[in-house]
Symmetry: C2
Subunit: 330 residues, 2 copies
C-alpha cells in the first residue's frame, strides 16, 4: 500500500509523524488549527503540497466553531508555521475566499468541503504527473531518485515517485535507487520506507555513490522533484540534486524534473535569482550517536542547489512533458 501523509476524520486531522520514520510509525491526532500549525512548524508533515493539504484541514477544524474571528486567527497561525512554503499560503487564502462568500451557518461545511477539494485536486495532480512521467519509462525501468518527492510529500502519490507508482500499477516492475540525502536523510528515512510499504523494490545508496552507479550503467532515468522552477527553467531542489545532474549529463542518463504547474514561478527570471536557504550547522551532526566532527567546526550548509535548464532532459508536470535543455524527447 502506498502510504498517506494525512487522514481527515471531520473532527480531527490525523498526520503520520514523519520525524519518527522509519523507527516508529505513529499517527498524531489534531483537533485544533493551532495544533496543526505547530505540527507543520515541527515538521510532523513536510513537502510543499502535503503542508498545503494539512493547513487546509487545519483551517477546516477552526471553522467548526462557526466563528469567523477564530478562523481568521487560525489562518494567521497556519500561514506563519512555515513562512516560505508557498502552497501553505495558497491553500489558506483559497479557504478564506470561500468562507467570505457564504453565511455563518455554512462556514463549517464550506471550509471542510474546500479542504477536501484541495486534497482531492492534489491527488489528481500527482496522478497526472505519474501518467505523463511513466510514458518516459520502458519495461523494468531502473529509476534513481533523490530526497523524498513521494506520497509522503503530497496529498497523493507524489511527484518524482508518481511515475514509479503508475508504472508499477501497469505491471512494468520499476525498481528504484534512493540516495540517502544528507544531511536530513529524507531518502533513507522516507523514500525507502514509503517504497517498501508500497511493495516497490528499492536500493539505498550514499549520495556520493550515485555518479558511480550511473557510470556502471545501472540507471535508466533520474526523477527528482523541485522546490521552485525559474522562468528560464533552472531548478531549485534539495542540496545534492545538481551533483546528480552533472553526472547524468556525462553518462547520458535522462534527468527528469517532476513538479506541479504551481512550482513553475514566472516571477523568478533565473536560478541565480532564487534565494538559497542555509540551515543550522547542527544538522550535519545531530543524528549521530557520537560526535562525527570537531565541536564548533565551520560548516557550509545550503538546503537547496540550482540545476540549470541545460542539464534537464525534460520537465514532467500535471500538464504534460516539456523538453529541457538536453534536447528533444524521442
Amino acid at each position: 500500500m502506498i502510504p498517506r501523509a494525512h487522514e481527515f476524520a471531520g473532527d480531527a486531522l490525523l498526520l503520520l509523524d514523519q520525524r519518527r520514520l522509519p523507527a516508529k510509525v505513529t499517527w498524531l491526532r489534531y483537533t485544533t488549527a493551532a495544533d496543526v500549525a505547530a505540527a507543520i512548524a515541527d515538521l510532523v508533515v513536510r513537502g510543499a503540497p502535503a503542508i498545503g493539504v494539512a493547513a487546509a484541514y487545519g483551517l477546516a477544524l477552526a471553522g467548526r466553531s462557526g466563528d469567523r474571528e477564530e478562523v481568521r486567527q487560525a489562518a494567521d497561525r497556519l500561514v506563519a508555521a512555515r513562512p516560505t512554503a508557498i502552497n501553505l499560503k495558497w491553500a489558506v487564502k483559497r479557504l478564506l475566499a470561500r468562507a467570505g462568500a457564504v453565511s455563518d451557518d455554512q462556514l463549517a461545511a464550506t471550509l471542510r468541503q474546500e479542504a477536501e477539494a484541495i486534497h482531492a485536486e492534489d491527488a489528481r495532480m500527482c496522478r497526472r504527473i505519474g501518467e505523463h512521467g511513466q510514458q518516459l519509462l520502458g519495461e523494468r525501468p531502473r529509476i534513481l531518485t533523490y530526497c523524498n518527492a513521494g506520497a509522503l510529500a503530497t496529498g497523493g502519490i507524489g511527484t518524482a515517485l508518481a511515475p514509479v507508482y503508475v508504472a508499477a500499477e501497469a505491471g512494468r516492475q520499476p525498481q528504484v535507487y534512493a540516495c540517502e540525502t544528507r544531511p536530513v536523510m529524507q531518502g533513507a528515512r522516507l523514500t525507502s520506507w514509503e517504497l517498501t510499504q508500497a511493495g516497490i523494490p528499492v536500493t539505498l545508496l550514499v549520495d556520493g555513490a550515485a555518479a558511480f552507479l550511473l557510470a556502471r550503467g545501472e540507471v535508466d532515468a533520474i526523477f527528482v522533484g523541485a522546490d521552485r522552477i525559474a522562468a528560464n527553467g533552472d531548478v531549485a531542489n534539495k542540496i545534492g540534486t545538481y551533483a546528480l545532474a552533472c553526472a547524468s549529463a556525462r553518462h547520458d542518463v535522462p534527468f527528469y524534473v517532476a513538479a506541479p504547474q504551481s512550482t513553475f514561478d514566472p516571477h523568478t527570471p533565473a536560478g541565480a535569482d532564487i534565494p538559497i536557504e542555509f540551515r543550522p550547522p547542527e544538522e550535519l551532526s545531530d543524528r549521530f550517536a557520537e560526535p562525527v566532527s570537531p565541536t564548533g567546526i565551520s560548516c557550509w550548509t545550503p538546503a537547496f542547489d540550482v540545476t540549470p535548464r541545460a542539464l534537464v532532459t525534460a520537465y514532467v508536470s500535471d500538464s504534460g512533458v516539456e523538453p529541457g535543455g538536453r534536447g528533444q524527447i524521442t
Copy 2:
C-alpha cells in the same frame, strides 16, 4: 601542530585511536606484534602508508626477542591483518629481507632501524608530494578534499593534504573544504579534526553539496588521494570521488590526484580491471542514534569508485607532477 598517527618508543608503539576521533583523543600502547596486528585489523590506524609504518614497528617489537621464529610468526600475523593493504605486505617483506642478512644478535637493532627508516622515508615522500603540489596553488588557495588523505593516513604530512600543509608553512594561507565522506565519515571525523589541530581553516560540507560549491566559484583546486592508479591513469579512490570529478570538469576546477609512486600499478591495465570492494550494508546505518532506514533495506555499498584519466587534471607524486587527461599544466 599537524597530528601524527604513530609514536615509537623502542619498547612500545603508540597509535592514535582513529576510531574514536574526534570524540576522544586516545593513544593506545602496544608492546607485541600480535596486538599491533589486531589494532590494524580493528582500524585503530588506517590509510595504506600509515598501516605500513605501523606494521614495520610491530615487527620491530617482535624482533626484540632475538627469536627468528617469533619474528616469522609475527610477520604472518601482521600481513593477515588487512589482506588488501599493499603497503603492509611491502613493509613486512622489507624488514624480513633485512633480518635475513644479519646475525641473531643484530636482529633487534636491525628491525628497529629498518622500521624507523620506513617511517622516515614515508615522511619524506609526503613532503615531496607537498612541495610538488603546492606549486599548483596560488595565494590564499581554496582547496576541496575528500575522505582523509592527510597526516593520519601516512607516516608524514599526508598525500592530498601535503600541498596544503606546505603552502601553509610558506605563509600562503590555504583554506580547505572537507566533504564529510559518507558512510564512514573520514572527512568529518579525521580531515576536519587534523586540519583544526594544524591550525588550517576548514569548512565541512555534505558530499552532495560539493558540486554546488564548485558552481558558486568557491573552490580553486580539488586534491584527492588514491588507493590505486591503473596503468592507463584511471584512479580508484573512496566512493564519491568520481562525483566530484564529474562536477569539477563542468566547472573547470582542477582535479589533482596526489599519491606516492607506489600507488601507480603497472600491472592493472585500466580502471575497469580494479576490483571494487563492497562493504557491509550496516555501514550506512550504524553510526546513528536512531534507525535512519527501514530494517533490512537493500543497499548498494561500493567502498571505492573509479575516475577515468580523462577527468584528472594532473597526478602529483613524490617524483613530480604529471598531466592527466584534462590537458597540460600551465
